[in-house]
């Protein structure tokens, strides 16, 4: 954020204080990751590590962190290590640690010692005030190291002595859950490692204003790391669990034919022969349920999603793009523009299930009273509409006025300017916006439950193109495929949760494995669209600013 390089006014060599606090932070990181590993049961709770039970080891490491932090604090207070602490750690720190002290004291008094309401309140208040005073009254180097060290030492001692261990459990009144040791130990260790590392991060930067920055940045970085960690876990779980299902009896080789659904887009295909390539992924190309299908597949769902998306785009893109052009180029009325902006933002924030209800009330009775592909397409189109309007409007607005002026100076009309100068310049932005929007609606499930979702496991692919029929009586044109309920990838994932088992006999995987495979395919489709859109945006932005 600052473009000024900071010159270190103090000596640049690493000091003892920095060595110790870096060590404590490293310990904290190890404990943090190890606790999550235990929570996810990647590491067994009773597995001995280095000859000690995991939880005892956690306790020892927490105690070590406590000693390290307290040591740095004492050394800084006595002037043995260089630091620039403030007069006090501040009220916020005091209140936070007072709160931790209050809760800890209260829980110990009421649950372990069995005191009454008055007793535990008094103990909790006493402990809380004492800890808060310890944080606020002394100089910052003591105030921001001793309370965390106390907390770590308390938790560490509980773990080392085995007071809080595998056999421990606690079911508080009024909450219908039991907190057992195998969960609470890692949770407390995570909390301890956070508190300890925060304190060490402060100490590492030498307390004072720099120290506060160090502590705060540590917590912020950790939040971001946590977010990316959640993302990685989600994707990792799906890939790990879904890959095997998705590749059931898949073949990749040379020579032979490419396995494709018998009819794609309604056109019946011959058994395709592509020389030198043999790719068969039955999970992707088979129907979900049939007497002749050994591996239930996702073809109806994939084609259903494809048709839904195509229909939604056909509906929403002309409408949304036209509205964006009118707003950005034609209208001069501020009021009108604001009205439309409020409406599009309102549409954007409307919950998806409300769109489903709307489709149920408005579209379903008008398309023969049953769930149908056409209603699904239109409802998803309604959801795509605000995204198209907003992104198109933004990218048309972003076209520099020089383009318009230069074109107008040539003496052409406004429409020709829009058509030949503005729209081509805005098109990359519009396309990326549409791709991101499509990625969003392709994974949408809630409205489909109400207007489109058919049998849980579909036995036929929707063949829209070949189902058009023309009649002499109104409505002159009909299409049974558009009027049928069916399946889509997210809907298929939903049914694999709600159905107890796969239909038919002898599928090579369970319904849950089928779900994991569906989740993987859905993720590939949606994230593929997103990656495409985001990459396009980065590419076009670079191009715009480098020119």
């Amino acid at each position: 954020m600052s473009t000024v390089t900071r010159n270190a006014l103090v000596s640049t060599e690493t000091t003892l204080r920095e060595y110790v606090s870096t060590g404590v932070m490293a310990l904290g990181a190890v404990l943090f990751l190890a606790s999550w590993a235990v929570l996810f049961q990647w590491v067994g709770e009773s597995t001995p590590v280095l000859g000690v039970a995991v939880f005892t080891l956690f306790g020892v490491l927490l105690l070590a962190m406590a000693v390290g932090i307290a040591g740095v604090g004492v050394a800084a207070r006595l002037g043995r290590v260089s630091a620039s602490p403030s007069a006090s750690a501040g009220l916020v720190v005091g209140v936070l640690f007072g709160g931790i002290g209050f809760v800890t004291g209260g829980l110990v008094a009421s649950q372990t010692l069995g005191m009454g309401a008055v007793g535990w309140l008094a103990v909790a208040l006493a402990v809380g005030v004492a800890v808060a005073a310890l944080a606020v009254v002394p100089r910052e180097d003591v105030g921001s190291t001793f309370p965390p060290a106390l907390f770590l030492a308390f938790v560490g001692a509980l773990l080392v002595t085995g007071t809080l261990g595998l056999g421990w459990s606690w079911s508080p009144d009024g909450v219908s859950a039991t907190f057992v040791g195998s969960v609470m130990v890692p949770v407390l260790t995570v909390a301890g490692s956070l508190v300890g590392s925060w304190s060490a991060a402060k100490a590492r930067a030498g307390f004072g204003t720099q120290g506060r920055e160090g502590g705060a940045f540590y917590l912020i970085r950790l939040s971001v790391f946590g977010m990316l960690g959640v993302l990685a876990l989600l994707v990792g779980f799906i890939v790990k669990n879904g890959l095997e299902t998705a590749l059931t009896r898949a073949q990749f080789g040379l020579g032979g034919h490419v396995g494709l659904p018998g009819s794609i887009l309604g056109v019946t295909l011959p058994n395709w022969s592509v020389p030198f390539v043999d790719v068969q992924v039955p999970f992707v190309t088979n129907v979900s349920q049939s007497l002749f299908v050994e591996v239930p597949g996702l073809a109806p769902a994939i084609l259903g999603t494809l048709w839904l998306v195509v229909g939604a785009m056909l509906f929403a893109i002309p409408l949304g793009l036209a509205a964006a052009i009118f707003l950005a180029e034609y209208t001069e009325s501020r009021l009108f523009r604001q009205l439309v902006e409020i409406a599009t933002n309102g549409l954007w924030s409307t919950p998806s299930i409300v769109f489903g209800l709307f489709g149920l009330a408005f579209l379903v009775p008008r398309f023969g009273g049953g769930k149908s592909l056409l209603s699904g397409q239109l409802v998803l189109g309604f959801m795509l509409l605000p995204l198209v309007v907003i992104t198109s409007y933004e990218s048309i607005k972003a076209v520099p006025d020089e383009y318009r002026d230069a074109s107008a100076a040539l003496g052409v009309t406004q429409w020709q300017t829009i058509k030949s100068a503005v729209l081509p310049a805005a098109m990359p932005g519009v396309i990326t916006g549409v791709i991101l929007g499509v990625g969003r609606i392709a994974g949408e499930t809630a409205p489909l439950l109400l207007v489109y979702g058919g049998p849980p496991f579909s036995s036929q692919n929707p063949s829209v193109l070949s189902s058009f029929q023309f009649t002499s009586a109104p409505p002159f044109v009909s299409n049974t495929a558009l009027m049928d309920a069916g399946s889509a990838l997210p809907y298929q994932l939903y049914t694999s949760i709600t159905s107890g088992r796969l239909p038919g006999q002898g599928a090579p995987f369970s319904v849950q494995e089928f779900g994991w495979g569906t989740a993987l395919v859905l993720l590939v489709v949606v994230l593929g669209l997103y990656a495409f859109g985001i990459a396009g945006r980065i590419y076009f932005r670079r191009k715009l600013y480098n020119e």
Binding site: V180, I342, W415, G443, I538
Partner: protein, 356 residues
């Protein structure tokens, strides 16, 4: 007013050929006719639709400029009309339900609570409480972490890390909600059932935590927008008097962007409130009130969105009208949040002179 409109029309007419205007009028009229016939469930809807398409093509060939301008206007009106249609249809279908129960449907706590029937009273209160409980948990998860993430992206990260973190968080927004739900159902719910010995598979706590994670990307990206509206000059001014980056953020950037950041949280809360699929597959679908109200691990669990998604597929009569009433309540709650957030954002933008 009327004379101004007439004047503008004259002005508009003077710049366009009369034939083009007539053609445009007929095109627009056929679109209106198509809508009216569609609304009437007529079999003849296809005729005005075909005439609209045909006239558009003819007009495009002969009077492109006039037709383009006219059609973009018609499409803009249609976009606004969609929101109007949604509101109208929700309210009309929910009306009999509200007519039966009045506002008591929102706060009635005595049995019977569900499901709506013409002869017995019913109530949306358990679902409203459920929505509030899950939303509160989600906000507690998402708001601090989301604001921290926004601070990181806009103030701390180097250009390289930003190029990694920002798309990563957008990918998080891109993962379909049913996928979060599937993982929540298969892994999180089972974990809580086995390890915490909860009475049911699924409870408010797991649902709230999951939709909190799902609301994160919204908060991060909107709050980051708000933080980057704070003029660079204000930050540089603070740094110039010798503050650290953190002091600048804490005392200058965050307070200046406070309204924008709170708008981000409001939008995130709106997302969490409207989140449907993850909650639907994770929640136990039992209606009632947790006792005591903070027992988020208890056996009851139903929110406004989940009840619609779970029962809407095959409900009829008063039952479906009750679900429409739930939809109206949900729509209003989310709309209030989003409009408030928009007003706050608009005020902040005008305060710092819009370079965005």
């Amino acid at each position: 007013m009327a004379s101004r409109i007439a004047e503008r029309f004259e002005h508009y007419r003077s710049r366009n050929e009369d034939a083009a205007l007539v053609l445009l009028a007929v095109t627009a009229l056929s679109l209106v006719a198509a809508f009216v016939l569609f609304y009437q469930q007529s079999r003849w809807t296809v005729v005005p639709v075909a005439s609209f398409l045909l006239l558009t093509v003819v007009g495009w060939v002969r009077y492109q400029a006039t037709i383009a301008r006219g059609l973009t206007f018609v499409m803009t009106v249609a976009t606004v009309a969609v929101l109007g249609l949604i509101v109208a249809f929700l309210v009309v279908r929910a009306w009999p339900a509200f007519d039966q129960m009045g506002l008591e449907a929102l706060y009635r706590t005595e049995e019977p609570l569900w499901k709506p029937a013409k002869t017995t009273p019913w109530s949306l209160a358990p679902m409203i409480v459920g929505t509030m409980v899950t939303t509160a948990i989600a906000t507690a998860v998402a708001a601090p972490v989301g604001i921290a993430g926004a601070l990181y992206i806009s103030e701390i990260a180097s250009d390289t890390t930003r190029e990694v973190v920002k798309p990563g968080i957008e990918l998080m927004a891109g993962i379909p909600s049913i996928t979060y739900g599937f993982i929540g159902f298969v892994i999180v719910n089972r974990f809580f059932y086995e390890e915490f010995q909860t009475s049911t598979i699924g409870n408010y706590f797991t649902v709230g935590a999951m939709i909190g994670i799902m609301a994160l990307p919204t908060i991060v990206s909107v709050a980051e927008d708000a933080l980057s509206t704070v003029p660079e000059a204000m930050k540089s001014g603070a740094l110039a008097v010798g503050t650290t980056n953190w002091q600048t953020m804490k005392s200058v950037t965050l307070p200046s962007a406070f309204s924008g950041v709170s708008a981000a949280v409001l939008l995130g809360v709106g997302r969490a409130m409207g989140e449907t699929m993850a909650a639907t597959v994770m929640i136990p679908h039992t209606k009632g009130f947790a006792d005591p109200v903070y027992d988020v691990f208890g056996g009851v669990g139903e929110t406004l969105t989940t009840v619609i998604a779970f029962e809407g597929g095959n409900a009829t009569g008063r039952h479906i009208e009750g679900l429409f009433a739930a939809g109206v309540v949900l729509f209003l709650m989310v709309l209030v949040l989003s409009v408030t957030a928009q007003v706050i954002q608009a005020r902040m933008r005008s305060k710092y002179g819009g370079d965005r």
